[in-house]
Assembly symmetry: C2
Homo-oligomer: 147 residues x 2
Amino acid sequence: MEKVTDTTDGVDQLLRQHKVQVTAQRLAIMRAVSSRPHATADDLTDDVRAVIGSISRQAVYDTLGVLVDKNLIRRIQPSGSAARYEDRVGDNHHHLICRDCGTTVDVDCAVGEVPCLTAHDDHGFEIDEAEVIYWGMCSPCQTESKK
Amino acid sequence: MEKVTDTTDGVDQLLRQHKVQVTAQRLAIMRAVSSRPHATADDLTDDVRAVIGSISRQAVYDTLGVLVDKNLIRRIQPSGSAARYEDRVGDNHHHLICRDCGTTVDVDCAVGEVPCLTAHDDHGFEIDEAEVIYWGMCSPCQTESKK
DNA sequence: ATCCAATACTTGACTAATTCCAGAATCCAT
DNA sequence: ATGGATTCTGGAATTAGTCAAGTATTGGAT
């Protein structure tokens, strides 16, 4: 019997490197996040079910939590919508989100490397992340709203 | 009979200027937001009830929605906690939020005036706001977690 | 190759925040 | 004062996510 946890795309290696136990669910979720960036937990659940048949909602949330913890994926939480996940980590990029349709695209940091991460006055906080979200309207929605 | 909608603090004027119908509830909510920045809808409901006796949850959400729409207040929506409201609008300041306890403080823009508002590549979007959230741990929570 | 303890997954109920709905009340321009 | 538009009320519904307990799978030790 072939083990599900041996892969040819190296996802299993990646997980092991980060000391994450390898399971069919985790592999499927990793791939789902990679292939559909900025998806919600719900979207990902659908994607994963299409591939491995079934998975519980709990397992999805649980796994996403672990992957975020281990820095394998990043969670972004735009106002007014469910959390979204992406596999571009550690490159200090930001997001541009359409107020109307929620479309999310990546934007490189406007300032440079990591100055975003330095607040003027840290109020005694130990800051570990600066999240930047640009809000606006994508071109389809712009034309739509002019009708 | 005196009308509740005539005020001495000018809040009614402000509402009228923005074409928002003036009601006792709205006045109370406006004042509550001003006097307790970064409060949640729930906090505000309590505050308002303490002042005008009673208000429905709906009216609170509805009013906050209207005020946000009319740009009289700003809504911020941190991960894992309810939305918060503040009356500092239009000055491009940002927020520093504790991952542990949710404490939220204002931070002036790290970069200057409005460069934050300029993304590298706007992908055809019409951008109207740049939201920056610094995530970290406030000092009380830092000491707490070291125990 | 097999076993076992640790870890992960499933099910199903539960919570918190927010929104929807439809009727009643209130506001304000005429 | 009146009518039409807007707002308020209370309850029910939805959404996003969490908790808890039992079952299954994984990976290291034998």
